[in-house]
Structures are given as structure tokens and as C-alpha cells.
Symmetry: C2
Amino acid sequence: MAVDTEDAGARRTRRDVQRNMERVLQAAQELFAERGPDVKMEDVARRAGVGIGTIYRRFPSKEQLFAAVSAVACQHTRHCLAQAADDAHDPLEKLRAIILAQYRQSARQAALIDLRPDPSGVPPDLDRPGLYASIHTLLARVIAAGQRQGSIRSGDAQMLAAICLELLSPRTVQNLSRLADDDVDAAADQVVGFLTAGLRS
Amino acid sequence: MAVDTEDAGARRTRRDVQRNMERVLQAAQELFAERGPDVKMEDVARRAGVGIGTIYRRFPSKEQLFAAVSAVACQHTRHCLAQAADDAHDPLEKLRAIILAQYRQSARQAALIDLRPDPSGVPPDLDRPGLYASIHTLLARVIAAGQRQGSIRSGDAQMLAAICLELLSPRTVQNLSRLADDDVDAAADQVVGFLTAGLRS
DNA sequence: GGCGAAGCGGAAGTGAAATTCCGCTTTCGC
DNA sequence: GCGAAAGCGGAATTTCACTTCCGCTTCGCC
């Protein structure tokens, strides 16, 4: 953030610094998405085309690097989902749009960070709970709207939103997409069908 | 397995050995469930109340320890779910029973091993795919039966089963249970409602 | 109770990955 | 173009968890 701002009299941020940080974030984001949080810093450096030291100049630890990556990716996800919801009018349509957006997002390997509350304690630097909550809130609102309007059955909107959200977790998206021959749209459709109709005939 | 069998003329298995192995498996199972596969062997040893060497005497590596733990837990889960399905008559009832069984299981901290196919490659010693498949098959069969009988809407039974299974993953069970004030039965009920009725009113 | 086999604990060894450090290079402002 | 400040690369260091090893203890049998 704020890479271009400068104090009076201070030198402008060097061009190469900005370029390198972008490369590092990009590489980290890709590798994190591809292989989970256990990637080696060396690999990140290699893919970014920089030395390890360069990473550590801006990100004091691996954890903080991934917190930064996650924050960016999640901001982006949040934005996409909100956008999708805005573009649709009917609550059920909004839900469909959100799901589709998330599935397409994952297909592009972006946004693969799992935001769900992590029972294994040790909260990292990243404000996962907050990011999770913001998406959860979005869903809960849409569902509540549907309930008021009558198109969605009554029930604890928080819980219904949480259940939907589980079907949007990166892992789930990947699993289901694979089962649909990597056709994410098809997978999303199935989930939407499940969501709206349930199993009963 | 087969801890009590003995070759002719061989000394009986020492009592302490059996006791220790049980403690180790118990501790490993708890910790694995609580904190995922990144627990330290030292922690397992401490919780089990034995030295690290004792673990290594029977389990040549961390991976094999967890394979053993997983195998036991999954066998158990599989058995419980199959049992639950058997006890019910109607396919929808079977599904309800399966879900409830899994939620109760998780509440007891058992069976928290995530069997879903892991995209991050490197298949461990444990036959996760096989264990996952066996539960997936169980679900798919129940769903297909419901479809034949007419109580479940038509659609790709494999995919529907996979979606259900996602809602049974340990992480999901934990998240949703927490949201229901740790009342697993309530959480399971919500999921069942979602499953059978969907969102539409 | 005594003997020997088997098991135990946990300190030391090992290896892989994270992090530091510093001489060399690049960039910016003039 | 030049000088200084900032950044860079990556070898060396540190850290940290897995695994080994061996002197001491416990168990089962007679």
C-alpha cells in the first residue's frame, strides 16, 4: 500500500523496488494457490526472479508475506462477490451469481486462501476472521433479503449463510470442479441447484 | 493390529507395550484432530506420557504414525456411517442419519481426519482416496436409491454425494457446530434441512 | 528373587528450511 | 555523469523438528 506516497524531501520510491515487490506478491500468490502454505521462500524468490534477501527486505517473515498475499487476494474476492451480487436483482439470482463468481475465481487460481475460522488456534498476522466475516455478512444479507421477500425459506440466516460459505471454500471448489471434469461453470451450476432445490424431488 | 497373537514359544507381548501404544495412538489422534497434521512428535509423546523413542519403536516415521491413526479413525467412521444408514429405511432418513452420525462423531473429536482428495499432491502412506471413496460410494448409493424411489430429485448422484460429503468434512462440521453454540445435533439438523429442502421456500 | 530379552527415555545427530548479513549494484537527484 | 543512499543477491548462519542411539529400566518366565 501507499508505495507511491512520499514525505516532503524524501526520495521517491525506487522503480525497481516497486517492480520487485509486485513480482514477489504475484509469485507468492501463485505458489500459495498452487501448493498451499508450505512453499519454500527460495521457490518464491526463484519464481519472482529475485534473491531471497529481496523478499525479506519488505516482508520480515514468511508469515507476513502470506498475510499480505492473502489480504490482497481476499480484498479482490470480496470485491468480485459483492460486484456479482450487485449486478443481480433477485436474491436467489444474487446467490447464483456469487457462487458462480467464486467458482470462476478459483479456476483462475486466485483467491484460494481459506478464510474460514481456523480451529487450530494460533491466529496468524492476517485478519482472517474479519475477511471471513465480511463475506459471511454479504451472504447473510442476501439470504435475509430473500427471506423478507419470500423467495427463501425461513431459518437462521447466519447459519444458512455459513452453510453456503462452506460450499465456497477453496478446497470444496476444487474438489467439486474436478468431479465436473474441471468445468467450473458446471460445478457451480450443480451447487446452485443443490442450494436452491435441495435433494428432495 | 494383532497385538495379542503370538508365535509358539515366543514371549507374550509385554503389558506396558500395549498400554503405551494405545496411549500414543490416542494422543496422536487427539492432536491430529485438534491441530492438523503439523503437530510435533514431541507433543504427541508428551501428551501420551512417553518418550519420543517409544513412539519410534513401533511407528518408524511420523507419516506412518498418522497413517495408522487415520486408518483406525476412518475405519471407525465408515463403520458408524454405514451402521447409521442401515438402521434407517427411507433414503432421506438414511441421509439424515449419516449426517447426524458424522456430526456426533466429530463432537467426540474422533474421525476428524479429512479424507477429501488433497490437491497438493504427494499422497502419503495412508490410502486416503480409498477411504474417501468408500464413504462417497455409500452416499452415492443412498442417493441413487432415493432417486429410483422418487424421493430424491434426479441429477448426477456422484456429484450430489460429493456435495453432501463436503458438508461432512471435519472442518465444516466444526465450523457449523460452533455457529450452533456447539450443539452438534442442532447443526446437523440445519444441514439436513438445507440438504433436503434447499433454500427456496 | 533372578536372568535375559525387550522396551524406555531423551540427549545428541541430521537435514531442511527460515532468516541474517554484507560486499556489490542500481537508482535518484543534482 | 557523479555521489550517496537504498536495494540486491545469495552464501552463511540459525532454527527447529524428525530420527537415531544407547545406557538404564521393566517385564515375563522359571
